[in-house]
């Protein structure tokens, strides 16, 4: 039945196109006048007749015209309409002159490109210029502050760690928050690929992509844009398009180099040995305990682990093409050492992009990226092997060396200097991502494309701890392979009939990925000089596992516009996934959108104020399939977690749920897009996103034997406004100044959750001890005991009970809602100035209205303990009546609970940051030309995170924290996260 339907549909389409009379065929190519690049989608019509067509991606067209046709009309929004007489050879090539730069832009959308001016999708695009030369470990960092509605938080200073990215707020609670990344049509694998280092943050999915290879990153936001990705679209989609060469262009070679240094933006407070010994004994005496005797030694651990970080990056690329072939070749070597010891990362990557027109009707191409990342890792924050965490906690009288200068074992809070000097902790990653395609123009208006893609990841983690820490030493090694392949077949249809423009896309894709993991571990080595597990006497870990998933999809998109004024688009996608339960194997998603280009109406066409004005609206659905591979089955697992006394065991691990399926987000969007006075561009969108069937780990009473079950239940809403304003303040040949501001406002609200009442009768889901999703509040609501302060009269620490009365008793029963980790708005503000050869770029980013929890303060502000170092803030303790002190009276019974989780650790997370500022000088061509080799040369200096404006009472190193990477349930929490780095780099760009 399915087959028949499709066959009819296709036949119908073909029949429709072949009824037309064929007298003469006119061919030609349309390019832009300024850059010579082909213009796709240009409407080509016979003047006074009904026949017409549009140009393809290569700018070529072919039109059947009556024998008497004499003049062709070329219209393309944003370009001056041209009428050209048909010559005897029936070939008409045209160079269209642009009306306004903005309007000629093409945007990358799912499975294709669209004219920005005529698109009804809501997308944000970040082009290469916005991030050129900015040192960064991964391209996703360039989304920070650059695209309205994209909230990005760098999660950890550990090189290579994943960041938290949310597009238009979180659409999922437990199903992961990362958008779907698609590189040249290949959706990337998105596992975490990182062996546990003590933190919640996985590996950055874009670590292997060289920012210099990227032409543009497009963030798909509304349903009209993400709907075509069906069950994977609800977190938003980021399309990455890599660079290509140009037809008929001399090969351009570029070399870019930069070198830089980094240091932490800020550190936590900590006591010296003398301060610590004095404080602990004052505290002990006050509590009636005998004074402790401490060793006379002292050591500044923080100072010893912080260093000046160094970055060096080399980038070489070549791009060009002849009449039929385009190519781009890029190579990058990047080496970075962080500002704490032991945190190094080196990346080597190469890219080859190529396409060739075999004939006017057949085009083939390949995009391929191969890269290797080698990193020397450190523990992630919540780990006493993490240099900075450990150095804050290490007792300041403990020294790393003995009297002979040899490293010593310092116990649970281990000697991190020795760890970094003696142990191995490496993580290597190899990834090849690419696709090969063939495109056929099978009939005049039809184009068929078949595309085969892969994303193969291989990781290798290796650790080795020497005899000093564990007698005999331990070793561990693991390998993971996640190999994906997919095939995508699409059929494209484009047709212009007088004032009617039709577009159609019909597609099929099948995608599957297999993940294999293997680990070995052992203990007892004859010598520290034996690095591999094979030398261990006792095997402690032998593990291997494999899992796979598959997704099969059909999709279609139809678009229609009338006179380039009234725009319509409809799309649908059907996804079948191996991850979904047997009762919900297939999901259907759709989106409808419409636009009105008001500036094309006669009453505005000649306006001197409004150059362009478009209204759009869209509604549709998308989903999230990150629910785990076999979460729907009741399972019994074996392995070392189930074995006993050398015999195989089995333990129940999962509650069954045959109805388990995707999460579904329905989104409504209205937008306005305008250009005023040819100076200001304004884009504003209002949206509401409602996610239902939220995947929840519904907590079970432990008396069931399970902690939770995964069920589709719950609803959440995000409402917001994305705003982008750009202004070309001055636009003269020698002096240019442009300003751009983007802001995303978002309000998140939980509408319903599985039944799990808090004392106020609201359902909630706990993300951490401090944070939970609560119905009526946001997904990331801090739920804490309110800390009131130190009573100046008594010196006791006081908290508030639920009803707001002061108490000296700390109790979790007094927890209340105290704020949200989700900012009210985030955004960026950029100024670009160029005067003759000098260019200046100043970029600020900001977040406002959120709270962050600096969890590490629970340790460093622990009054009574003698087990780890403390903050110097505690020295300001209550001594006499009237003192307005930070810490309580040392003899107060409340001192024992002072550090308990409360709003004491909760801080205002708002900040404004001078994210990057760069100053460059382009050497005049008159001088360059003398060299005979160079075609261009630029030198620059660039600073990152130079200034951070934050709340004056902020007691953490950095308000930009998100220790748990891509987790949606825990946001804005840090244990001892590495603060962001302040960097200064110097670089050159050379063109040959």
């Amino acid at each position: 039945m399915k087959r028949k339907l499709l066959a009819f549909l296709l036949l119908g389409l073909f029949a429709f196109t072949s009824v037309m009379a064929q007298n003469k065929t006119i061919t030609g190519r349309v390019v832009g006048a300024d850059d010579g690049l082909p213009l796709p989608g240009v409407s080509v019509r016979i003047k006074g007749g009904s026949a017409g067509t549009t140009t393809g991606a290569d700018g070529n067209y072919s039109l059947n015209a009556p024998a008497n046709a004499s003049v062709l009309t070329f219209t393309y929004i944003g370009y001056v309409t041209q009428e050209i007489t048909i010559t005897a050879n029936n070939r008409v090539d045209v160079r269209l002159v642009s009306d306004s730069k903005l309007l000629s832009e093409v945007v990358v959308v799912g499975y294709g490109e669209q004219s920005k001016a005529l698109s009804t999708q809501s997308v944000s695009t970040v082009n290469a210029e916005a991030f050129k030369n900015v040192p960064m470990t991964s391209p996703q960092q360039l989304l920070q502050g650059q695209a309205a509605g994209v909230q990005m938080t760098n999660s950890s200073g550990v090189l290579g760690a994943a960041s938290s990215i949310r597009i238009r707020g979180a659409s999922s609670i437990t199903g992961g928050g990362q958008p779907l990344f698609v590189v040249d049509g290949v959706p990337l694998n998105d596992g975490s690929y990182s062996s546990a280092q003590g933190g919640g943050s996985g590996l950055n999915p874009l670590l292997n992509i060289n920012a210099n290879d990227i032409e543009s990153m497009t963030v798909l936001k509304d349903a009209a844009a993400v709907g075509i990705y069906g069950s994977r679209g609800s977190n938003g989609v980021v399309l990455i398009k890599t660079k290509s060469g140009s037809l008929n262009k001399k090969t351009a070679v570029n070399f870019d180099y930069f070198t830089g240094v980094s240091e932490p933006t800020s550190l936590l407070k900590y006591m010296t040995a003398d301060e610590f010994k004095g404080f602990v004994n004052e505290s002990r005496t006050a509590r009636g305990l005998a004074a402790a005797t401490f060793p006379a030694t002292s050591f500044d651990w923080v100072d010893a682990v912080v260093q000046t970080g160094v970055t060096n990056s080399y980038n070489l690329s070549a791009a060009g093409g002849d009449a039929k072939t385009r190519f781009f070749v890029g190579g990058n070597y990047n080496k970075e050492s962080g500002f704490t010891i032991g945190n190094d990362l080196a990346r080597l990557s190469g890219r080859f992009n190529f396409d060739h027109n075999i004939s006017d009707n057949i085009k083939v191409g390949v995009n391929y990226n191969l890269s290797r990342v080698n990193s020397d890792r450190i523990g992630v924050e919540n780990n006493t092997f993490a240099p900075l965490t450990s150095s804050y906690l290490q007792l300041p009288y403990v020294t790393p060396y003995d009297a002979n200068g040899n490293f010593v074992n310092t116990g649970f809070i281990q000697n991190v200097l020795a760890i970094e000097a003696l142990n191995t902790n490496s993580f290597n990653l190899q990834r090849s991502t690419g696709n090969a395609f063939a495109e056929f123009r099978i009939f005049k208006d039809f184009k068929f494309k078949t595309d085969f893609g892969i994303d193969n990841i291989q990781t290798e983690g290796k650790s080795r701890s020497v005899n000093l820490f564990v007698p005999g030493g331990t070793g561990f090694k693991d390998n993971q392979k996640d190999y994906k392949w997919l095939v995508t077949n699409t059929l494209n249809y484009n047709k212009v009939l007088n004032n009617h423009t039709f577009g159609g896309l019909l597609g099929y894709s099948y995608e599957t990925s297999r993940d294999d993991y293997m680990a070995v571990g052992g203990s007892g080595f004859a010598s520290d000089k034996l690095p591999n597990v094979g030398s261990a006497s006792t095997p402690t870990t032998t593990f291997a596992s494999g899992t796979e998933w598959a997704l099969e999809s059909q999709f279609a998109r139809l678009s229609y516009n009338f006179k380039n004024k009234y725009l319509f688009q409809g799309l649908g996608r059907r996804d079948g996934s191996s991850r979904f339960g047997q009762n919900k194997k297939y999901g259907l998603f759709y989106a409808l959108s419409a636009g009105w280009v008001v500036s094309e109406e006669s009453f505005l066409k000649d306006s001197k104020v409004i150059d362009y004005l478009k209204f759009t609206a869209s509604y549709g659905t998308s989903g999230n399939d990150r629910i785990g591979n076999f979460s729907y089955q009741e399972l019994f697992g074996g392995g070392v977690g189930a074995d006993y006394s050398g015999n195989a065991g089995l333990i129940p691990t999962q509650v069954p749920n045959a109805d388990l399926s995707w999460e579904e987000t329905a989104q409504f969007d209205v937008g306005v897009n305008t250009t005023l006075f040819n100076i200001f561009d304004l884009e504003a969108n209002y949206y509401t996103k409602k996610t239902n069937r939220l995947l929840s780990n519904v907590p079970y009473p432990y008396t069931t034997g399970y902690a939770s079950a995964t069920i589709n239940v719950g609803e959440m809403k995000n409402t917001g406004v994305d705003l982008l304003v750009t202004s070309r303040n001055i636009n003269k040949t020698n002096f240019k100044w442009a300003t751009s501001l983007n802001i995303g406002f978002v309000k998140n609200e939980i509408i319903s959750l599985p039944v799990n009442k808090d004392p106020e009768g609201r359902d909630f889901l706990e993300g951490s001890a401090a944070q939970r999703a609560i119905v009526g509040e946001s997904l990331n609501t801090f739920y804490l005991v309110r800390y009131k302060g130190i009573n100046p009269a008594t010196g006791d620490a006081e908290w508030l009970t639920k009803d707001g009365t002061a108490t000296t008793t700390y109790s979790p029963n007094n927890r209340v809602v105290v704020g949200s980790a989700i900012p009210d708005f985030t955004g960026g503000f950029t100024n670009n100035l160029s005067y003759k050869g000098v260019d200046l770029n100043v970029f600020f980013n900001f977040a406002y209205g959120n709270k962050v929890l600096i969890d590490g303060l629970r340790f460093t502000e622990n009054v009574n303990t003698g087990s780890y170092n403390k903050s110097t803030d505690l020295l300001n303790y209550w001594k006499q009546a009237g003192d307005n002190s930070f810490a309580p009276r040392l003899s107060s019974p409340t001192a024992a609970n002072f550090q308990q989780l409360s709003t004491l650790q909760l801080q205002d997370g708002s900040y404004l940051r001078l994210k990057t500022v760069s100053l460059g000088y382009t050497i005049p061509t008159t001088i360059i030309n003398r060299s005979k080799i160079l075609t261009s040369a630029r030198i620059y200096v660039l600073g990152q995170n130079l200034i951070t404006v934050k709340n004056k009472d902020f007691r953490g190193p950095d308000p930009e924290v998100s220790a748990n990477g891509g987790s949606n349930q825990i946001l804005g929490q840090s244990f001892f996260a590495l603060p962001q780095a302040r960097t200064l780099t110097f670089g050159i760009n050379l063109g040959f």
């Binding site: 087959r3 499709l6 066959a7 073909f14 509590r287 009636g288 060793p295 009288y397 074992n409 116990g411 649970f412 809070i413 056929f440 099978i442 068929f448 007698p471 005999g472 561990f476 077949n489 059929l491 099948y510 571990g521 203990s523 006792t538 402690t540 870990t541 596992s545 494999g546 998933w549 598959a550 079948g576 996934s577 591979n629 089955q633 399972l635 019994f636 697992g637 070392v640 977690g641 189930a642 074995d643 006993y644 006394s645 015999n647 065991g649 089995l650 333990i651 129940p652 079970y700 009473p701 432990y702 008396t703 034997g705 799990n756 009442k757 001890a769 979790p812 340790f859 087990s867 308990q900």
Partner: protein, 477 residues
């Protein structure tokens, strides 16, 4: 013509791909079995039973943590570590959201529910090679493990029998296999819980074997002797001296259980072991959270050095200098606070955490018997002879009938021996409480550590009270 060929081939390709949907999406897990497979053969059912043992083996059940928590409350062990949740326990400053306590509760019920599944499912397994006797034994083993787990759980979360003759609230009693329907059980009384433990053990004794073909199984799996010994302990905890005596005698009548000659029996599967959970390098290695030695060994040995001897315990051993239970079982090491302190040598392997968990030892049964007789008969020669075996092993002079003047002093002395024999094995807290004694007599926490004191038992985890409205919190939290 060329165009047509394209159209046909491409339409064909597209259509073909639409056809074969179902197969491609029908993938199965590779690391797990579905529930119906798990109970369809003798082999898988036996593995599921071993999975219950494995559940008891975890850090949070018999892998040392509940035992350490109990010891941190009492007076044998000094806390010098950095974990705030353990610091709260040792300081009698526990809040009900204490994560360590929550995980202990969770892990106990997980083990219990897995045992329940065996008890419910094994009798229904259809497999000709699985005999009824074998099925009965599997059920009996599961009952023993369930009883053992409930016993420890009720000791931690409820006041001892001696406070109100067992009428006080204990823990929820869940005896059914969980099949998807969530229930919200209220807390049972201590008598209910202990009667169920008694019932499980009594039934298990009938079907359990006396021994297995392998020593590791005789010492590491449920046996008749182990069930009898545990029942003896239960009676002791309920002041039921006569039954405690009877069951202890039954255990010691078996040639399988003999006092060791010295202290080399730890982790050795000797006749000293009545029931010891068998740990291997893969059980609590890199993947686990540690084990006995990770607390009880200093950093130089690979542990954390969190739990050295308390000054009180050192003083107790020094009452009689030369006590081998101290001299041969301690070594100085740098504790977590960087200061040299004495650590026990009972659990030496902090590298792989392979030390077996000594749950029931012959020594304990001997002590049970000596105490049960003394409680009934006062100062008596049989008890003295039993204790003298232990004292001889420790290199100490024998007691005689005239060593003690009163029955109370005699019983206190037996308890003192019990303290020194079983130190660091998780017994001290209950041995004090069931005798109506405070957990600590000195230090700022002494006022809270009194017999019957609210804070001598752990709070019901806050999360559970959030979940199950029928659960009543312990007073004082």
């Amino acid at each position: 013509m060329k165009n047509k060929l394209f159209i046909y081939s491409i339409t064909g390709a597209l259509l073909f791909s639409f056809a074969s949907c179902e197969k491609k999406l029908d993938l199965q897990p590779e690391q797990s079995l579905s529930a119906d497979v798990a109970f369809n053969s003798k082999e898988t059912a036996t593995s599921a039973l071993l999975g219950v043992y494995s559940s008891l083996q975890t850090l949070e059940v018999f892998g040392s943590q509940p035992q350490i928590v109990a010891d941190y409350q009492a007076d044998n062990v000094l806390f010098v570590g950095s974990f705030p949740t353990l610091q709260e326990i040792t300081n009698y400053n526990v809040i009900s959201s204490n994560q360590t306590i929550e995980t202990i509760w969770q892990s106990h019920y997980r083990a219990i529910l897995r045992a329940n599944k065996i008890i419910a499912k094994v009798p229904q397994v259809v497999d000709a090679s699985y005999t009824d006797a074998q099925k009965k034994q599997a059920v009996a083993e599961a009952k023993f493990l369930r009883a053992l787990t409930y016993f420890q759980l009720s000791n931690l979360f409820s006041q001892p029998f001696q406070v109100s003759n067992g009428s006080n609230l204990s823990v929820p009693l869940v005896l059914e296999s969980f099949e998807g329907e969530i229930s919200f059980p209220a807390r049972a009384t201590l008598n209910d819980v202990q009667n169920q433990i008694k019932k499980d053990l009594t039934e298990a004794i009938v079907d359990l074997p006396a021994s297995y073909s392998l020593a590791a199984d005789t010492r590491g799996r449920a046996t008749k002797g182990a069930a009898q010994a545990l029942l003896s302990r239960l009676h002791l905890y309920r002041n039921d001296w006569a039954n405690a005596e009877t069951l202890a005698r039954q255990v010691l009548a078996s040639p399988l259980y003999v006092l060791a000659a010295n202290y080399a029996f730890y982790d050795a599967n000797t006749p000293e072991d009545v029931f010891s959970i068998q740990n291997s390098a893969t059980d609590n290695g890199r993947t686990g959270a540690g084990g006995w030695a990770s607390y009880y060994q200093p950093a130089a040995k690979g542990g954390r050095g969190d739990a050295p001897f308390s000054a009180a315990l050192v003083a107790a051993y020094n009452e009689e200098p030369g006590d081998k239970r101290f001299t041969s079982l301690n070594a100085m090491g740098s504790a977590a606070d960087g200061i040299a302190r004495p650590f026990t040598l009972k659990f030496p392997d902090a590298i792989n955490n392979t030390d077996n968990s000594p749950v029931i030892r012959t020594t304990e049964v001997v002590l049970n018997l000596a105490e049960a007789i003394a409680e009934q008969k006062g100062i008596n020669m049989e008890s003295i002879d039993l204790i003298n075996k232990l004292r001889a092993r420790a290199g100490l002079p024998s007691w005689t009938l005239v060593t003690f003047l009163t029955k109370a002093a005699f019983i206190d002395a037996i308890l003192n021996e019990r303290r020194k024999e079983l130190a660091f094995e998780g017994h001290r807290r209950m041995d004090l409480l069931r005798k109506g004694k405070p957990l600590r007599t000195t230090g700022p926490e002494a006022s809270k550590a009194t017999f019957g004191g609210n804070l001598t038992i752990l709070p019901i985890p806050f999360r559970e009270i959030d979940q199950n409205k029928l659960l009543v919190q312990n007073p004082g939290y």
